[in-house]
Structure formats: C-alpha cells, structure tokens
C-alpha cells in the first residue's frame, strides 16, 4: 500500500514537472555534495566507431521482476539494478517518487536511450552497446552518499571494466 509520504512526494514531482517555478524551489532547497580537488579524467581509449558504450541512469528504471528501489527511506536507496538491453523494454517499471515519470513510462528512451543506441550501432557510427546497463535511483542523501561513492558505484565501475566498456553516458531522472 502506498504511504501518505510517498503520495506527497509523487504529487510534488508531478507539480514540479508541470510548473517550472516549483522545480526551481525544489532544486534551490537541495545542495548536492560539492567535489573538491582534481576532476577525474580518462580520455576515450578508442575511436567512437570502435567503442563499446554503456548507459547508466539514475532515473530508477528496472526489470519488473527485480526488487523495486526502497522509497520508504527519505535518504533514498544507493543500490543499483542490472539492465539487460535485449529485454528491458519488454517489461520494465520505474521506481522513483521524486520526478514525474509518466512520459518515460510511455517511452523509456527519454531516460535510457536503448533504441537510439542500437540505431547508432547499426549505422556503424558507434562500435557496440554493452549487453548490461545499470540503473540507480537518483535521490540519495545522508549516509547513503558514502555507500554510493565507496561501494555501489565502484562495483558498477568494476562491472563496466569487466564488460570491456570504453565509454559511458549517464542520464538523470
């Protein structure tokens, strides 16, 4: 059963999409963790036409049979889901109360452009697509930020390396 606090978050998210001034208030009220020092940098190792690309989204999409992201914790859920590019769009759900995903429910390419990616590979503009892409739920705060940057995001980075991924595109919700 949906809780009152989840319902409130979902209604606020819908309002923020419809009325940009509300979105502004929302973004002004949140301060992300600022980064200091050197910005990480890895130039693309191979030309685009030879590169393997993976998508990483924080829009909360996942396969229907996977456990949903935890929406009861106000600090969010720093876990991730593995997405099979061959089957995801056949049966997906989006678990994320902090943005209005009614458009993405109709066409998930606007948050995870799997079909556009396939076209670019077919046209030989891009080398290949990773078989597995990765999804997070991008409303993460408090102690979960450390879990994300020291554990779950590191795990995903290792899995990308193991798949011989050369380049990655990250998309928000």
């Amino acid at each position: 059963m949906i809780t009152l606090s989840r319902l409130k978050n979902q209604l606020l998210a819908r309002a923020a999409t419809r009325f940009p001034i509300l979105a502004r208030k929302f973004t002004d009220s949140y301060t992300p963790r600022a980064s200091a020092g050197r910005v990480p940098w890895a130039p693309p190792a191979v030309p685009l036409a030879q590169a393997t690309l993976a998508l990483i989204t924080t829009a909360g999409i996942h396969h229907r049979q996977q456990p949903p992201f935890d929406m009861s914790d106000s600090d969010g859920d720093p876990s991730y889901r593995e997405l099979d590019s061959a089957t995801l769009f056949d049966d997906f759900v989006i678990t994320h109360d902090y943005y209005n995903h009614s458009s993405a429910d109709k066409d998930p390419n606007i948050i995870l452009p799997l079909d556009r990616l396939k076209e670019l590979v077919d046209e030989q503009i891009l080398g290949s697509s990773a078989r597995t892409h990765y999804s997070f739920m991008g409303h993460i705060d408090g102690p979960h930020i450390d879990t994300l940057i020291h554990h779950t995001a590191v795990e995903v980075a290792h899995k990308l390396r193991a798949q011989n991924v050369d380049i990655a595109l990250l998309t928000p919700g």
């Binding site: 693309p44 685009l48 993976a54 993405a104 606007i110 995001a153 980075a157 380049i167 990655a168 990250l170």
Partner: protein, 89 residues
C-alpha cells in the same frame, strides 16, 4: 548522478552526463556534462520524438570526444518544445 560519473571515470572509462540542473553539476563537477534546461524526467526529450532523442545522443557523443578540459559543462542550444529537430541530420 555526477558522483557516480566521477567514480566511473576514475576507473578509466570516459564519461559524459546529461544535466538538467546546471547548479548541481557546477557543485559536483563531473568530468564532462551537457546541460539542457528541460523538465525533470526528460533528459533525452519528449516521448517518441526520435529525431530529438537522436540529436541529444549525437551531441553527447560528440562532446565526449571533443571536451578537453575536465569539469566542462556545455550548454546545448535547444529550447524545450521550440526547436525544430527535423533540420538536424
């Protein structure tokens, strides 16, 4: 999202991210970012608008290979629901 992007880049994979809140990206400092002043939930644009989605994707890949300064944010010129993407290739 930018924090995850930084971790992946740190592991040796070149990354580009789409931002719809420029101020967040300025704080988090991902390696490469394209910014669109578009509504939440629409980083690649509108549902079933393939030309628009494709153009954003092409821009991302172009900037991934051409941005030379870490932390760069490129403002894409597309105004929400005002740009005619049929003119693009």
């Amino acid at each position: 999202m930018g924090l995850i992007q930084r971790v992946i880049e740190q592991a040796g994979i070149a990354t580009i991210g789409i931002s719809i809140v420029r101020e967040y990206s300025e704080q988090v400092k991902p390696p490469r970012t394209v910014f669109l002043r578009w509504p939440f939930g629409h980083p690649l644009g509108e549902p079933h608008h393939q030309a628009q989605q494709r153009q954003v994707m092409r821009d991302c890949l172009d900037k991934l290979y051409t941005i030379a300064t870490p932390g760069t944010i490129v403002d894409l010129p597309y105004i929400w629901r005002r740009h005619d993407f049929r003119k693009e290739t």
